[in-house]
Symmetry: none
Subunit: 154 residues, 2 copies
DNA sequence: TCTATTATTGTATATTTATTCACTCCATTG
DNA sequence: CAATGGAGTGAATAAATATACAATAATAGA
């Protein structure tokens, strides 16, 4: 039952490679020790919301679409940027340090931004724990959160 | 050569319907007087950057991937960029050359983008006349239109 | 105008992706 | 401990999409 590790790996793969077909994804997955078929990858793409899009040069590749809803997403990004002081992780647990009293708000914002990949979160006063599905998944989410903080907006 | 009208219509269709396959798009296009084949629609989707994505309920449909911020403005910019071949002006009159058959669509897009400063517009097949309030105004609008073309282009 | 070049399109086909069906693996419940 | 039900999967297949090629139409240039 490697589904969630595989999902995390797929997200990582499409972030780092230009992948045109599901067959290419299968190949790379195999190199990483995941043996899957095209049917499974097709279902993964659907569940992860990944899409095949044409870039400006006219080539297709799989991407993770940017969060769509601007108004609420923008608000959450704003909260996140105001709240978060630091991010680290160990195994499948992400530890987020915030300014005093803002952990809860940061948790809600992250829930919105990252969505279902987080199993659960526990917020204290200035610390937030996110429990992920796997170490790989945690690493992937940390990367995305850091991107949110850098960009600041969408 | 209905390509650009068809593009505009496709954008309108996917904004107003949940379309799952290119065949469905072809059907609706036919009702609007556009007779196309799947191959052509496939190419249109690529050129317009439209993609098939899974929504939260697990259904696929075609969407315009960055719809959020100013969807109608984005659409108008797209049309404008596809339509316009050249811009010039004399006195208080702007002359816009477009691809054949696109003058009307360009006129509508420009109306939206520039708004009330234009006294009126007359569109033929591949030429659009904009009547402005003054020569300075015309010059200013020309500059803004050229900026639109720069931005929207890719 | 006429010719050369480029764009657009359809047909047929190849490629790619989604789904159906059957099976396995677990967890739950009677 | 069966029996039941649901999630995950692969194999095969259906469905959908992209593209090679040929034809036609548009455009530019002489």
């Amino acid at each position: 039952m490697m589904k969630y590790q595989r999902h995390a790996k797929i997200l990582e793969l499409i972030a780092n490679h230009d992948l045109t077909t599901q067959e290419e994804i299968i190949e790379l997955l195999r190199k990483e020790g995941f043996d899957s078929t095209q049917a499974t990858v097709s279902r993964d793409m659907k569940e992860l919301g990944l899409i095949k899009a044409a870039d400006s040069k006219g080539n297709y590749k799989y991407i993770q679409p940017k969060p769509a809803n601007s108004s609420s997403t923008t608000k959450h990004l704003l909260i996140l940027n105001q709240a978060v002081v630091g991010i680290s992780f160990a195994l499948h647990t992400i530890v987020i340090k915030t300014h005093a009293g803002m952990a809860q708000a940061a948790g809600a914002a992250i829930d919105h931004l990252v969505g279902g990949e987080i199993l659960g979160s526990i917020g204290g006063d200035d610390t937030l724990l996110l429990i992920c599905q796997s170490e790989e998944n945690a690493q992937n989410i940390v990367q995305r959160l850091k991107n949110f903080l850098k960009i600041g907006a969408d």
